[in-house]
């Protein structure tokens, strides 16, 4: 039945973009554009709804959530709004396995607290068992290109944060290969809780990491349209763009069965940009592996 619904039904997803006006400092629009375009090419309609300060968050209206990063001045009223107005909705969404991506400031907001160099702690939501400490102006900010390992492949981006995040029981998103990561000490980067992902990687994150973007879309589709069995190979999603069908896949390295719902796209340029950054960081083998990803034959529809 699920397969039927996939074949006939028009797939729609709704992305809740939290605080688009306040937390938009580091090209977060790129993440939204990427999700939109990758859905559009597969004939999935992605609606993006902005959720600002004062807006209520009804979890059943959304299939995916995104929070970006902003300036300190703008982060304080946002932190207050998260805890006062959106906390129940956010918790419900996360506990219900809704995919959520929180970048930089948004990531800090979803941990227990942010302790500035001066002044009182800023309370966070505590989705991730982690906390952030700003050690003052003397401790240099973590700035630069960064690459992490993620489920047998890599994620690349740029980081720029003054606060250092320490993980409690939270699982890291990946291990730092080059760069600073959470705190420049323990080689962890980001945090994961259920389908909620927090990370310091921007740059923007998703355009150059198409496998991660597809992973999030995939999670949202699975959650909304049901978990389908892995043996079905006959499902063909309609492909909006002809270029996608002659393309090569990017999904070989994505974790678990995540590649199964989505048709492959031509991600040559994405992986080249990904590899170029790895290359600049001196990760030559990883760069070669990333370039191979985009030359592998389409395997997304094989079990």
């Amino acid at each position: 039945m699920i397969e039927d619904s996939l074949e006939t039904e028009h797939l729609t997803l709704t992305l809740g973009h939290l605080y688009p006006d306040q937390l938009n400092l580091y090209g977060d629009r790129g993440n939204i554009l990427t999700l939109q375009r990758r859905c559009q090419l597969r004939a999935i309609e992605l609606r993006v709804v902005g959720l600002g300060i004062g807006d209520a968050l009804a979890p059943d209206e959304y299939d995916m959530l995104f929070i970006g990063g902003g300036q300190d001045r703008e982060q304080a009223p946002v932190a207050q709004d998260v805890c006062e107005l959106k906390s129940i909705g956010l918790w419900a969404a996360v506990e219900d396995d809704m995919p959520l991506l929180a970048v930089c400031g948004g990531y800090q907001l979803l941990a227990h607290y942010y302790r500035p160099a001066e002044g009182p702690d800023m309370r966070g939501l505590g989705v991730f068992d982690a906390w952030t400490i700003h050690k003052g102006a003397r401790v240099p900010r973590c700035i630069g290109d960064v690459a992490i390992s993620w489920h047998g492949s890599t994620l690349v981006g740029f980081e720029n944060h003054g606060g250092r995040t320490y993980l409690g029981k939270a699982q890291p998103l990946g291990k730092v290969l080059k760069g600073h990561g959470n705190n420049a000490e323990d080689h962890t980067e980001g945090a994961v809780y259920r389908n909620a992902y927090g990370t310091y990687l921007h740059g923007s994150l998703l355009p150059k990491n198409p496998h991660f973007a597809d992973h999030l879309i995939e999670l949202a589709l699975q959650r909304k349209y049901g978990r389908r069995s892995q043996t079905s190979t006959n499902v063909q999603l309609t492909t909006a763009n002809a270029s996608a069908s002659n393309g090569v896949t990017s999904l070989a390295a994505a974790p678990q069965e995540a590649a199964t719902l989505l048709s492959a796209l031509d991600d040559t340029l994405e992986w080249e940009a990904h590899a170029a950054l790895l290359e600049r960081l001196g990760l030559h083998d990883a760069a070669a592996a990333a370039l191979r990803t985009c030359t592998k034959p389409v395997s997304a529809f094989q079990s």
């Binding site: 790129g30 355009p207 940009a273």
Partner: protein
């Protein structure tokens, strides 16, 4: 150090300036041995110390000047760069107070210009106006806007006796980096301090936008009330910098509702400053020209745009780089022609006009100054190459890039374009801002498109997501990725894919490709980031297509 400095001095300056003044015979003679020179200068220092502290300071300044000019000359000779920064570094090493020492000698004082965008053009317009009014104008060169750049510009005008050359009837116009302003105002009290605007730029270097505003407030606190502030009324942060300032403030702004973004069918625009600094609520805009520039009011505390003293009533674009504006001040109303492209140059012209008003310069000098102004280095500059015209349009941050794109693609004719995105330190290492630039304007409006620079692939990806088809752009990265040359074990890698194997690399071939794709007689628009602009200039220079930009440095 000293040895080489004397040799350099006599070789590169020909001892011209030095021979005129008797105080430095030691330097003009080219045939004496190094040792005798050194002994002589030691004797002079000892003598000066006996004469009094002021002479000793002048002497020290003189040494700094010689060192600086030598270093500058050497650096130019060896093509290490424009030769403008190193001179300042040397001068400051030899005499840390060199800027204070020399700046105080300028008869008509100094003007500082700072802000995220428009510093260089505004400075050049101010210089043109002041020059027309009969003053002798001294500037630091484009890009040398840190303390050392200012030190070097002064040292280049100084004599080896530590005095400024022709300081009478002179005025200095300093372009000052946003973050450096407090250091400058600590030692130089400008007659006029101009603030153009504050946008997001190089977050990895400056930190957050707010921290720049904090630097500026700090700098203004150090200014005496004899300084006049010239502030952009349309930029909320800039406009309210002077709230606690006791001296005179002149505001400038645009009052033409037809320039409103919505009236112009504006698309996505980033706003880098959207909340009131007093109460943190969002501004409401009656008119918005670009980014956060416009007529704003805070709905909560009532903080609003100040009424500008110099305002543009009407602006009209006559051609790509010819704007006609109606300017009004309290006493005058005047039509001014600006031979530069883009809305942002209206603000630059306004800033220059307002500065001239603050100095009581006559309108005749203002009009001719602005009309005759030539585009400065890479800001709408034209260069003829192989029968094509190259137009250089520097774009270094989201707002700057958006405005360049708007200017380029405002009419429906498709253009030949070369984008150059670098992430060197001077550009900012973080390029995520490209995702906030309205590249959607580009799709469908290019005849040919080349994408190059150290982050060419990132920009190509951005353009792809903006709807530019991959086959419509030629990607020419700075360097090939290593796996495309050799794999990890040093073997020649197999052919990766068709795109990669067709690729060429480096600026030279990017420029060649772009020029080849542009038919003779047409214009190629080159839009580089800062270091990209330097690279293009160097490349064109090597082809003999443009003059050395540093030649004009000291006048």
């Amino acid at each position: 150090m000293l040895f080489c400095s004397y040799r350099g001095t006599s070789a590169d300056f020909g001892g011209k300036a030095l021979r005129k003044k008797g105080s430095s015979q030691a330097l003009s003679a080219g045939s004496r041995t190094r040792l005798r020179r050194l002994q002589h200068i030691r004797a002079v220092i000892a003598a000066a110390k006996q004469q009094g502290p002021q002479d000793a300071l002048n002497l020290r300044a003189g040494l700094a000047v010689i060192g600086a000019r030598t270093a500058g000359a050497l650096s130019r000779r060896l093509h290490l760069g424009g030769g403008t920064s190193i001179a300042g570094v040397v001068a400051q090493c030899l005499y840390p107070d060199i800027v204070k020492h020399l700046a105080s000698q300028v008869e008509y004082g100094s003007i500082t210009v700072t802000g995220t965008n428009g510093k260089t053009t505004t400075c050049s317009l101010i210089a043109a106006i002041l020059g027309n009014s009969g003053l002798r104008v001294w500037r630091n060169r484009e890009g040398s806007n840190l303390m050392r750049g200012i030190a070097s510009s002064l040292a280049m005008h100084a004599l080896p006796n530590g005095r400024l050359r022709k300081s009478g009837h002179a005025i200095s116009v300093f372009e000052v980096d946003e973050a450096v302003l407090p250091q400058i105002t600590r030692i130089v009290h400008p007659r006029v301090a101009v603030f153009t605007n504050l946008f997001r730029d190089q977050l990895d270097r400056y930190g957050e936008v707010d921290s720049i505003a904090t630097h500026w407030r700090e700098a203004i606190q150090q200014l005496p009330s004899t300084t006049t502030l010239v502030l952009n009324a349309d930029d909320p942060t800039t406009a309210h910098l002077g709230n606690d300032f006791t001296g005179k403030i002149l505001y400038y702004g645009i009052d033409d509702p037809s320039l409103d973004l919505e009236a112009q069918n504006g698309r996505h625009q980033v706003m880098d400053m959207r909340t009131c600094p007093a109460c943190a609520s969002d501004y409401v805009y009656e008119l918005r020209f670009y980014s956060h520039l416009g007529h704003y009011v805070c709905p909560k505390c009532g903080l609003r745009r100040p009424k500008p003293d110099v305002r543009v009533l009407h602006a009209q674009s006559e051609s790509f780089d010819r704007l006609r504006i109606q300017v009004e001040s309290d006493e005058h109303r005047q039509e001014v022609v600006i031979a530069l492209p883009g809305l942002y140059n209206i603000y630059n012209a306004l800033a220059a006009i307002t500065t001239a008003e603050a100095l009581h310069i006559g309108w005749e000098s203002i009009l001719t100054g602005i009309e005759q102004a030539k585009p400065v280095f890479g800001r709408g500059e034209y260069i003829q190459a192989e029968g094509r015209t190259i137009c250089l349009l520097l774009a270094k941050n989201p707002t700057g890039f958006n405005e360049v794109l708007r200017t380029l693609f405002s009419n429906a004719t498709a253009k030949h374009v070369l984008f150059l995105l670098n992430d060197n330190i001077a550009d900012g290492r973080d390029i995520s801002w490209i995702w906030d630039v309205d590249f959607e304007r580009v799709a469908g409006y290019t005849q040919t498109l080349v994408v190059s620079g150290t982050r060419a692939l990132d920009l190509a990806l951005r353009l792809k997501y903006a709807g530019v088809a991959q086959q419509e752009m030629t990607i020419v990265p700075s360097l090939p990725a290593r796996p495309q040359r050799l794999d990890a074990r040093g073997r020649k890698a197999p052919q990766q894919n068709e795109h990669a194997t067709q690729r060429s690399y480096g600026l030279k071939s990017a420029l060649n490709t772009a020029l080849r794709q542009t038919p003779p007689g047409e214009t190629l628009f080159v839009v580089p980031t800062y270091t990209g602009l330097l690279e293009v200039h160097r490349e064109l220079e090597q082809r003999g297509l443009t003059s050395h930009y540093w030649e004009g440095a000291p006048q």
